[in-house]
């Protein structure tokens, strides 16, 4: 092998879980650094935007972008790294589907700023100061802050993305696979996979769930994870816990399920589905148990039954609101 390839770890609206996920490669990191030079990685290297701007287009071989796009800086990083990278990867649930930051689409930019700069109990801000995008201090220094956008977006809403890797964060196994893909490409052993979602299954999580599969699943009562003693063998839905297995793409190695926690849907929907939440809604409502014959139940009672599910939007679209069909909350 001749020259090392260049890797970038770009950050958007993120908790830096993506960086930590790469670090989680532990001993495999040595293999990674045999073939890879870490270029732009704000958490690990001292590099400025101007250094990246000075690079040639396509100089970086692969860029893992993690985090959603919700302000002008995120957008700038995304567009800059897209230009300088041969392969752009939406790495993790936030970059792929908007993720947890995507839930900001239930409100508006102004409301978020009001909450943060005025309404919380610990805020003292009698002058109602808000962050400005430009500020000139008394000495004449000009300072700039990124502008917060109205909508949170996934990476592929902003730039062209080659590969999408879901999960929050991508698991170690996925990283090892990704490393192998890079190694094979660098060594000329295998071509790159086709564009799209990689390192994941085409089927749902239920398909590879290690738990005992019941003949028919019926939910007697909707329970909350924090107050229920969970059986490690039984299907979560059967125990009354909302598990996203029926609607979520497999490929995460059932990590949560194995430690007795229900799936929350961070791998996103399967390719056959347009809307993660809608798909889960349809699965979940069908298995709720009702008392007596369903024919005799009035509509109001059904509505009451469904009201037991608290915050359907936040639950159904925990990771995928910006990639859902309706994308954001509106005002009638």
């Amino acid at each position: 092998m001749s020259e090392k390839i260049k890797l970038a770890l770009a950050q958007g609206a993120t908790c830096s879980g993506g960086d930590i996920a790469v670090l989680d490669l532990d001993v495999e990191l040595l293999k990674l650094f045999e073939v890879v030079d870490l270029t732009f990685a704000p958490l690990a290297t001292d590099i400025k935007f101007k250094d990246v701007e000075a690079m040639q287009d396509g100089e970086i071989t692969i860029c893992l972008y993690h985090g959603a796009v919700r302000n002008s800086e995120n957008e700038h990083v995304a567009k800059l790294l897209r230009k300088k990278s041969k392969i752009m990867v939406a790495y993790g649930a936030c970059a792929a589907f908007g993720g947890i930051p995507g839930l900001a689409n239930v409100t508006t930019k102004n409301k978020i700023l009001d909450t943060v700069y005025n309404e919380t109990a610990t805020t003292v801000n009698p002058e109602h100061t808000r962050p400005q995008t430009k500020y000139v201090d008394p000495d004449g220094h000009e300072l700039e802050l990124p502008e917060l956008f109205e909508d949170v977006k996934a990476l592929d809403d902003v730039v062209d993305v080659d590969y999408i890797i879901g999960a929050c964060p991508p698991t170690r196994e996925m990283n090892v696979q990704l490393l192998q893909v890079i190694l094979d490409f660098v060594n000329g052993k295998a071509p790159l996979p086709p564009k799209g979602i990689i390192l994941a299954s085409e089927r749902t999580l239920c398909d590879e769930c290690p738990r005992k599969k019941p003949e028919k699943v019926i939910i007697d009562e909707i329970k909350s994870v924090d107050y229920t003693k969970l059986d490690p063998e039984k299907c979560f839905l059967e125990q009354g816990i909302m598990c996203f297995g029926p609607a979520t793409r497999a490929g995460c190695d059932s990590k949560c399920i194995k430690v007795n926690m229900p799936c929350r849907g961070c791998m996103g929907p399967t390719a056959a589905v347009l809307d993660h939440g809608g798909s889960m809604l349809s699965a979940f409502t069908s298995i709720l148990k009702v008392s007596g014959t369903e024919t005799e139940i009035p509509e109001e009672e059904i509505e009451k039954l469904m009201e037991k599910i608290r915050d359907p939007l936040g639950t159904l679209y925990r990771f995928t609101l910006p990639k859902s069909l309706l994308k954001r909350v509106v005002k009638e």
Binding site: D57, G58, V69, R70, S72, N74, E75, A78, K79, R82, K83, S85, K86, V106, F149, E150, D151, K153, D156, D157, V158, V159, D160, V273, L274, D275, G277, G278, S279, L281, S282, F284, T285, S286, L288, E294, T295, E299, I302, E303, L305, M306, E307, I309, D311, P312, L313, L316, S324, L325, L326, K327, V329, V330, K331, E332
Partner: protein, 154 residues
Amino acid sequence: MRDTFKPKIVVFCCNWCAYAGGDLAGISRYQIKPYFRVIRTMCSARVDPEWIMEAFRLGADGVMVAGCHPGDCHYIGGNYRTRRRVAMLRSLLKQFGLHSERLGLAWISAGEAEKFAKTMNSFIDRITELGPSPYRRKKANNETTGAKKETVDV
């Protein structure tokens, strides 16, 4: 506004009851306002919640799902699922900011032509009163702020 607003309404009718009821309403020459488009499905349970959301995304002002009366489903229990899904979808759409009445649910048998006409007319009136859907307004204004996609040749 109310005089000029012509709502766009999508009606999903099941093949066995509601669609036949609508057909009969036509043959019987009941007058129905022309602001709705019927999509026939084999069963009301075939209507995926996604389709309803897609209709709203594309700017529908109202969506109606019509099927057989509870207990009369051609496939025995399809409409039970429909009504559960619609019930939860209503609370979900409410969170999305849509008036819950924008999603209608009706049980119409093959013989109830008059009920079909009445249901449709009152649904159309209600939607006209509510005005254009906020998603349609959003689409028209094209007010998506912030980052816009830009294709880069590499």
